[in-house]
Amino acid sequence: MTTVSRRRFLQGAAGLSLALPALESWGQAAAPARRVIFVFTANGDHIAQRMATKHETNFAFADMLSPFEAYRSDLLVLDGVDKFHGRLPAAERADGHQQGGSALAPWKSGTGSFPLGGNETQTIGYVRGPSIDKALGDRIAVDAPGLRFKHLYFRVGDSSNHIWNTHAHAGPEGTQNPIPAETNPFTAYTRIFAGVDTASQQRLLRRLAMRQSALDLVRGELSGLQAKVSAADRARLQQHAESLRDVERGLSALTPQNAACAPLTLGAAYNTTDATRWRDVGNLFFKLSAMAFACDLTRVVNFNWSGNTSDRVYRTLGLTEGHHTLSHDGSAAAFTNVRRIKKLLFEASCQLHQELEALPDGAGKTLWDHTLVVHWSELSQGDTHQTDKDLVVLAGGAHGHFRMGRYVNLQGVPKRGFSNLLLSCWHYMGYPDVQSWGAPELLPAGGGGIPGLT
């Protein structure tokens, strides 16, 4: 692509006084950024059938995990991560799928959104606190104010953002604030990469003055209104104003000079809610994610193959019953199918690994070397709804932060919580000061990451 330099950009907008973010690092050979992408697959797996050999280094995958074999030296297989929902009083437990699916936001669930009882008198609600993708993004934006997107949140499949489909939350702590997922990679591409390809850049320059004056007026109205409304409404308007700033950042910030950063060709658009296209949609989101990393548009992605409780029918496996339905059957035949589905999803997830490996990132390195991939699910196993023995697979070079190439059985390790795992992610991303994350009830005493991973 032709990259428009910042100077040329400014000339193009001559005569305007634009507030450009501080982007002094441009043009310098900055150290490769730290990135993380969470990859969700639904309905747990089969606890007893993960590994053929449970040895730290000479481990052998059972069939379900075999698609990851090619990456074994860059994997850290965590067996037995505990979401610690069992520590909550019965009255504060929501549904295993719903609460487990919101585990990137390991807070307690609220009430009032869905007519199932988390206990016997209350409907269940969204979790009351931010997910790590949002919180990390906020923190990174402080250090890298030129970054266009704090995080990206994608889901494959139906577009409804109900409680089962929602895996990202804005917080702050104590607040139900679900984030709607983007489900269409074609519109997401247009949104995220505006200005990266030269055609839209020309459009951008032409429209910039009109946009800027309209946004100035709207910003003034927003701040005027904030003074006149209640505290809760003020928070809503502040969020709106922050979103406005995000959009402005997208209008004015340009892509750093990274040779790997280039427009993508997505092909002809199609109905992205068509269940038979799930894998195609996922692949497009993987392409987008990798390129967004390469262009340093974001450093955090929350990707989901589906919502939790997904009842997608995997027809290519010859199935007619949905994933969730099968996961609850409990029969040997159903478990076989659950493992086949899981294997298919892991195999599909390897496309992300390939996208990351394909994009250069610094001398002799690729994005794979500078990214952490976190494969996770809402449950440990579907038929029992349990969340105390999760399988989590960390993948990628991740700047050498983790000692990869290992299988780690967490049984008996006190700090084996999902919250501990997320703290390990915080530390990898360069924030060792974060020692506590999520509701205290869900975090073993003392906080901190899972021991022995680095």
């Binding site: 007519p115 016997e120 959009v247 409990g330």
Partner: protein
């Protein structure tokens, strides 16, 4: 409500045997334990001489409201097409209590802000293509622009612009001209700002200092509440004029305008309530197994939605307006494709035709679009249909399954869905919930997972439609679907629950004890009218919660 009730796995519900009250039905007598029917003694009137509205969050337009409000500002098919394309791409809002317009969750996060921005640009660009119609101008362009800003701003903001606002927009226009933009481009910039304005995107109600704790709504605020309730859009010129001329100052004025709005074709947009209530709006993504259901029209989901909308309009706007009619009337609407799907002879083409339902079928709940949103891809789901009736129609709450569900082992190859359900109703840890869900789903087994009447199940076995109403005020055995909906249509619990749903949808929030008076009056009015939905919607404009506003502390 929402699609993924799937948390209720077919085989593994374990709970304590209670269908619980999912928020007290508005104003109804508190049910006893185990979801027992309301007591006979009337609830005392909670109303006092002081109006008691609950707090109202600042309401951002729901996406369907944005769709109508933006399109109505221009009133041209060209702009409407652009609006539709843009709104269809908006990230779906969080669902709460089955609806997509819960004020607490309607904010503007980054993705939506970008989508608003793109939509505003596209709409503004399309709108100025017909500039002479939009801004007729033969004289001085600045004068024309100023007049346009005043006229358009009044519709976009749903009130006259303040002097400062007018000045800001005129300044925006002037700035563009100084920059070298032509008249058309400068107007485009003005439209962009209007469409992005918080005064368009939110339904703003601002309190003066010291006006609390409760104040009457201003006429312009009432106009906006009225138009969004009935039209899901901003007020028309007549309604704004009534407000400005002091003809919207009393509850009687409000009722008069409510009836006018309800008589307008735009009131057909109220069908959205019914679609969201029963998850019919989720059918656009309808997926079915091609082996189990070969040869389906790819537009079946859309056609089933339109059938529901046409049916609701026919009862609500053109028929007797009764809830009982809505739940039982044995007519529907089909086009050629849907007639073929239902195997109704003699109807072809794209026109929608009113027909009598053949056989024992009637009412909203037995329309294909209401039956199947929670079915599986290759079969019906007795459990999900039953759960839907419990939660959506009866406003009851069913406990979530516990974290330690016992496994029931393998499903026998020759077991039907009904057999399997009977098996786990015999398991004490499953029976509690399944005994309240399944017997409501079984009577609807006469209809398959694509909404067609049938006499055999997916495996070709004879099926039973014998069910049981329990934990309601119309308990007893039911023989089939029509018997079920006919009994439900006489239920005070169902009537009361619908008031709850209508209040939630139109208010964008859940009822609380604070608005007990509003809900008491609504219940009374609905009951006195014999369950007349039109009186319910008009009644919604006569409550403390509609006419007054609690000033936030």
């Amino acid at each position: 409500m929402q699609r993924s009730l799937a948390v209720f796995a077919l085989f593994l519900i374990g709970c304590e045997g209670r269908a619980l009250d999912f928020g007290q039905p508005l104003g109804a007598a508190a049910p006893g334990t185990n979801g027992a029917p309301p007591q006979d003694e009337p609830e005392p009137n909670p109303c006092t001489s002081e109006p008691s509205p609950d707090l109202t969050p600042l309401r951002r337009l729901a996406h369907e409201e944005y769709r109508h409000a933006a399109a109505d500002l221009f009133g041209t098919t060209a702009v409407s097409a652009v609006v539709n394309a843009q709104v269809d791409g908006f990230a779906a809002d969080p669902v709460s209590l089955g609806f997509k317009n819960s004020a607490a969750f309607l904010d503007v996060k980054s993705v939506l802000m970008q989508q608003y921005f793109d939509a505003a640009e596209a709409i503004a660009a399309k709108a100025v293509e017909a500039l002479p119609a939009l801004v007729p101008c033969t004289g001085d362009e600045t004068t024309c622009a100023t007049q346009f800003i005043e006229r358009f701003g009044r519709r976009a903001y749903r009130r006259a612009l303040s002097a400062a606002e007018r000045q800001a927009f005129v300044g925006l226009y002037a700035q563009a001209r100084i920059r070298g933009d032509d008249f058309k481009t400068a107007i485009e910039g003005v439209l962009l700002a209007f469409l992005l304005s918080p005064h368009f995107v939110y339904r703003v109600e601002v309190d003066d200092v010291g006006s609390g704790p409760v104040r009457a709504l201003r006429p312009q605020e009432l106009a906006t509440r009225l138009s969004f309730l009935f039209w899901r859009s901003g007020p028309d010129d007549a309604l704004l004029s009534a407000a400005e001329a002091g003809r919207l100052g009393t509850p009687q004025d409000v009722e008069r305008e409510a009836r006018r709005l309800l008589a307008d074709p735009k009131a057909g947009r109220l069908t959205q309530l019914f679609e969201e209530w029963l998850d019919v709006d989720e059918l656009s993504g309808l997926r079915r197994d091609t082996a189990a259901y070969p040869g389906l029209d790819p537009k079946l989901g859309e056609d089933l939605r339109e059938e529901v909308r046409a049916f609701v309009r026919s009862v609500l706007l053109e028929g007797d307006g009764k809830l009982s009619t809505l739940l039982t009337s044995q007519h529907t609407f089909v086009n050629g494709a849907l007639a073929q799907h239902y195997r109704l002879p003699g109807i072809t083409g794209t026109q929608w035709t009113r027909v009598q339902q053949p056989g024992r079928r009637g009412g909203l709940l037995m329309l294909g679009g209401a039956l199947i949103p929670h079915d599986k891809e290759a079969r019906t789901s007795i459990v999900m249909r039953g759960l839907g009736l419990r939660t959506q129609l009866l406003c009851q709450l069913v406990p979530a399954p516990p974290p330690d569900i016992p496994s029931l082992g393998e499903l026998g190859a020759d077991q039907t869905q009904a057999d399997r359900l009977a098996q786990h109703r015999s398991n004490p840890s499953c029976a509690g919930c399944h005994s309240v869900m399944d017997p409501l789903g079984v009577p609807l087994e006469g209809f398959d997972a694509v909404g067609r009447a049938r006499s055999a199940d997916e495996r070709g076995r004879a099926l039973s439609t014998l069910g049981q109403l329990t934990n309601t005020d119309v308990d007893g055995p039911v023989t089939d679907g029509l018997d079920l909906v006919t009994k439900l249509a006489t239920s005070a619990q169902v009537r009361s629950c619908f008031v709850t749903q209508a209040f939630r949808f139109t208010s964008g929030r859940k009822e609380t004890a604070v608005n007990a008076c509003s809900t008491f009056r609504l219940q009374a009015r609905f009951a006195e009218s014999g369950g007349d939905l039109r009186e319910l919607f008009v009644g919604l404009t006569q409550t403390d919660d509609f006419l007054f506003r609690r000033v936030a502390p």
